[in-house]
């Protein structure tokens, strides 16, 4: 008897690191499943009217134009402070965001602009091969982590540029690890009628976005968890 129990005990102690590791992985998986389950559930009714810090991801071409259209109808006092992030090679987007914020400050008579403007390394340039994009995405991920640790937003608004993927993945990791619970809203571009963009596909399939909006009914039929909201432009 004694020999058996000492045998068991020595087995356990030699397997301890493995046991710990497996347990750790299991905890992470359960936590991830919980986050995914909880992700599409609306937040509880807010008794306090505290504004939510908001990250706005801008992108070249129509992305920023569509995002500005959305921001114009959101109540700014609920979504503040606002952090705008655009790709480092994108010169016009932050400028357009600054114009928006300036006009907001003018119209409300407030001198202080409660907005910050930042640039991030791009995961993938338009036309870049998908193979080299793997490395550039890793660099972008590291940079995104740095920015996200500083911002820790409660709301993330994005509409498709590749820059939003590292940011949304990190926001999701923050949820898993408990650093910050954020609500991620993704509006697929109006230019996507029958197929989702790569960013949209990733955020939809991996269930990272809390709410996923599409602007054409064909997409809503294909991706039933998406909300059809009609054309924004």
């Amino acid at each position: 008897m004694e020999k058996n129990s000492s045998c068991c005990f020595s087995n356990l102690s030699s397997n301890l690191p493995i046991t710990c590791f497996v347990t750790f992985i299991a905890i992470i998986l359960v936590r991830i499943l919980y986050v995914i389950w909880r992700t599409c559930k609306p937040l509880r009714k807010r008794t306090s009217q505290q504004p939510l810090s908001t990250l706005v991801v801008l992108g070249s071409g129509g992305h920023t134009a569509e995002m500005i259209d959305l921001l114009l109808v959101l109540q700014k006092n609920k979504f503040t402070p606002r952090f705008y992030i655009a790709a480092a090679t994108d010169n016009m987007s932050l400028q357009k965001a600054r114009v928006l914020e300036n006009s907001l400050a003018d119209s409300s008579g407030v001198k202080e602009i409660s907005a910050e403007f930042m640039q991030i390394y791009r995961s993938r340039e338009v036309g870049q091969s998908y193979v080299t994009s793997v490395w550039t995405t890793l660099v972008a991920l590291a940079h995104a982590l740095w920015l996200m640790i500083k911002i820790r937003p409660q709301v993330v608004l994005c509409n498709g540029p590749g820059t939003c993927i590292p940011l949304c993945v990190i926001a999701f990791i923050f949820k898993v690890v408990g650093i910050r619970w954020s609500s991620i809203f993704y509006v697929e571009s109006i230019a996507r009628v029958k197929r989702l963009s790569l960013s949209g596909l990733l955020l939809y399939k991996l269930r990272i976005a809390d709410q996923f909006f599409v602007q054409w009914p064909q997409l809503q039929r294909k991706y039933p968890r998406a909300h059809y909201v009609g054309c924004l432009m």
Partner: protein, 178 residues
């Protein structure tokens, strides 16, 4: 559009825009004799090309010998004025250019850039063409589209609205409806 009394044709401008992209194929084909002849035949007098990051330079022309007057520039901070004074817009398939033109109620031919990887832009152009808000063409077929287009048959586009999204976002976050 009738002619003025002294026989001078009223100014009808065709504005071509490629947005912030490089779309030499469109600029080249618009500058070709085939397309310019077709535009003249349809009663246009001036051709203004916004060529963006392209490298092909069209040939400028004053158009005093009855030919089309041609001019071009690379970028401007806002093309709204050019859109407003145009009688016809020929644009690349970028959503910004498309909707800016449709919101101004201008007749529009969208030309899809076939050199782009993963050409998702064509989906939007084709969908809007199906709904009869614009004409859709490829660089090689542009002259045929110009020849056969019936601008009266185009349907006006009513601008979209972002408030449904805002409502859903507010509701999700638990903000009270106002």
């Amino acid at each position: 559009m009738g002619e003025a009394e002294d026989g001078v044709k009223p100014k009808r401008v065709v504005f071509v825009t490629v947005g912030t992209t490089c779309f030499d194929a469109l600029v080249k084909v618009v500058d070709s004799q085939k397309v310019k002849d077709e535009l003249l035949r349809r009663g246009y007098t001036h051709l203004l090309i916004q060529m963006g990051r392209g490298s092909y330079l069209p040939e400028k022309s004053i158009g005093d010998d009855g030919s089309l007057a041609v001019d071009y520039f690379t970028f401007s901070s806002s093309i709204a004025e050019h859109l407003r004074s145009a009688s016809l817009v020929i644009s690349h398939a970028g959503s910004g250019s498309i909707f800016e033109t449709l919101r101004l109620g201008k007749p529009l031919i969208v030309v899809v850039n076939e050199d782009l990887m993963d050409n998702h832009q064509s989906e939007l152009a084709e969908e809007l063409a199906e709904r009869k808000h614009l004409y859709c063409a490829r660089p090689q077929t542009l002259h045929q589209t110009i020849a056969s287009m019936d601008l009266e048959s185009l349907l006006p586009y009513s601008p979209g609205d972002a408030t449904p999204v805002a409502k859903l976002i507010n509701r999700f976050l638990g903000f009270p409806e106002d």
